[in-house]
């Protein structure tokens, strides 16, 4: 049987503050940097050494308090690519299926489930 204490109220406010603190936010950033490095390695590059490669243009965008998970504010980090070809490469066109390199990188690091209350 679980021990309970009468009159005990968990301090949710400070727990929320802890989860928004740099101590925990660090994990979101680390995961995002891992996704970025996998995406950069798996995205196709041309053989031109002087070219500007889309694979090198994945950037990590920290969102310290921009995401709500199950009603609670949490720190998060996004991986983005602002290259001109990024959308066509990721999602494809009528001639070429999307490579989904960023989604695959995300699925390798974490569970691909989006923002759900779990």
């Amino acid at each position: 049987m679980v021990e309970t204490r009468r009159g005990y109220h968990p301090d949710n406010e400070s727990f929320g503050a802890f989860l928004m603190s740099p101590l925990v936010f660090r994990w979101a950033l680390e995961g995002a940097y891992e996704v970025q490095s996998i995406a950069a390695r798996t995205t196709n590059r041309s053989n031109d050494p002087d070219a500007r490669h889309m694979a090198d243009e994945y950037v990590v965008n920290p969102i310290p308090s921009g995401v709500t998970v199950g009603g609670n504010a949490r720190g998060a980090a996004q991986v983005e690519n602002h290259s001109d070809h990024a959308v066509a490469h990721e999602f494809g066109t009528t001639k070429q299926r999307g490579y989904r390199d960023l989604a695959r990188a995300g699925a390798r690091v974490g569970e691909f489930r989006g923002l759900k209350d779990e």
Binding site: A88, F91, G92, T93, T94, R97, G98, R100, A103, R104, G106, A107, R108, E111, F112, R113, G114, K116
Partner: protein, 145 residues
């Protein structure tokens, strides 16, 4: 060392679910749906919905796997695409098993989805919707034929 049962191809599992939900002939266009992993020939001329499946990845262990799988619905009109999604989304979310080609039956413990969203592309006449499902599938099932 233990001999583990083989893991099914996640793309094949999803294609089996979509094919079992698909009508024999699309009521609007009188053509069959296309379900596959690559574009069909003459995608732009098709009037029936085209369904594409793509495995993104996901963790595996000795009991099974949790593959994330992309499903892309391409249809000539918004209404046709939404009608297709209304058929396939509940069929996939409610699936508890899938029967692959040859009768290999796979147990599905859980399905999680994120809904379908429109992704615009270079063709304005064809509407494209994408959704991602995460299946929790088990190894084995019935004996692989």
């Amino acid at each position: 060392m233990t001999d583990l049962a083989p893991l099914p191809d996640p793309n094949a599992v999803m294609m089996a679910l979509l094919q079992s939900a698909a009508p024999d002939v699309d009521p609007e266009s009188d053509e069959a749906w296309y379900v596959g992993t690559a574009y069909p020939d003459e995608l732009e001329q098709r009037s029936a919905p085209t369904l594409l499946v793509g495995h993104l990845g996901g963790p595996t262990d000795e009991t099974g796997a949790r593959p994330a799988i992309d499903v892309t619905v391409i249809a000539p009109t918004y209404t046709a695409a939404q009608g297709t999604i209304e058929i396939i989304e509940p069929a996939v979310m409610g699936a508890r098993f899938a029967v692959l080609e040859g009768g290999w039956k796979i147990v599905i413990d859980r399905v999680e989805g994120q809904g379908f969203y429109e992704v615009e592309w270079d063709d304005t006449r064809l509407r494209r919707f994408m959704g991602t499902f995460t299946l929790t599938i088990r190894r084995g099932g019935t004996t692989k034929p």
